[in-house]
């Protein structure tokens, strides 16, 4: 069964993240908070597409649902 920790690893292998936290323990539904400099200057759609791209075919096969909140490092800093 896919764990939240594995999912974090899959994402960070293909997307450099300043911070990432994935929650979810049923193997198919996950929630993620992701902070990456790659998000700078992009809209929410493009930010989510970057994460989906990092996951590639896993998004079709293993993961039923990935709810996410994406932040640039600056947004994350201001939020804290």
């Amino acid at each position: 069964m896919l764990s939240a920790q594995q999912l974090e690893l899959y994402i960070t292998q293909h997307l450099a993240c300043d911070y990432i936290k994935v929650l979810g323990d049923d193997g198919t539904h996950f929630e993620a908070v992701i902070v990456s400099a790659a998000f700078v200057g992009k809209g929410m759609v493009q930010q989510h597409q970057l994460v989906y791209a990092a996951l590639g075919d896993r998004m079709r096969a293993e993961i039923h649902a990935l709810s996410m909140k994406t932040y640039t490092p600056e947004q994350w800093e201001n939020k804290a």
Binding site: M44, V45, H48, Q49, M59, S67, M68
Partner: protein, 105 residues
């Protein structure tokens, strides 16, 4: 008509389109349910397409917007986002603003 042409036809000939699992009365997924509730809260008219009823559309819609999940919202032929983005835009008022531009036409 192939799935891509069919989707393009649907999203460009209707101002607000929600691709979802099930229908607004009987959503078949929590995320689709949330999407219909958000649109209802915005008091907007929209048409919905049940992707579970058509496998070609179900797969085609993921390719159309380069977006692997459902629901998907389209306004004025443009892909707006999935349920996370709908919720964020609903909370910050952007979704209502966008829908108002449709209603004004």
């Amino acid at each position: 008509m192939d799935a891509q042409a069919q989707i393009k036809e649907t999203v460009t000939s209707n101002p607000v389109v929600l691709y979802m699992k099930g229908n607004p009365k009987f959503p078949q997924c929590g995320f689709s349910n949330m999407a219909t509730q958000i649109l209802d809260a915005c008091n907007t008219k929209y048409i919905s397409v049940d992707v579970l009823a058509d496998q070609a559309v179900r797969e085609g819609i993921k390719v159309y917007a380069n977006w692997p999940t459902i629901p998907q919202l389209y306004i004025n032929g443009e892909f707006v986002g999935g349920s996370d983005i709908m919720r964020a835009m609903y909370e910050n008022g952007e979704l209502q603003t966008l829908l108002n531009t449709v209603a004004a036409k």
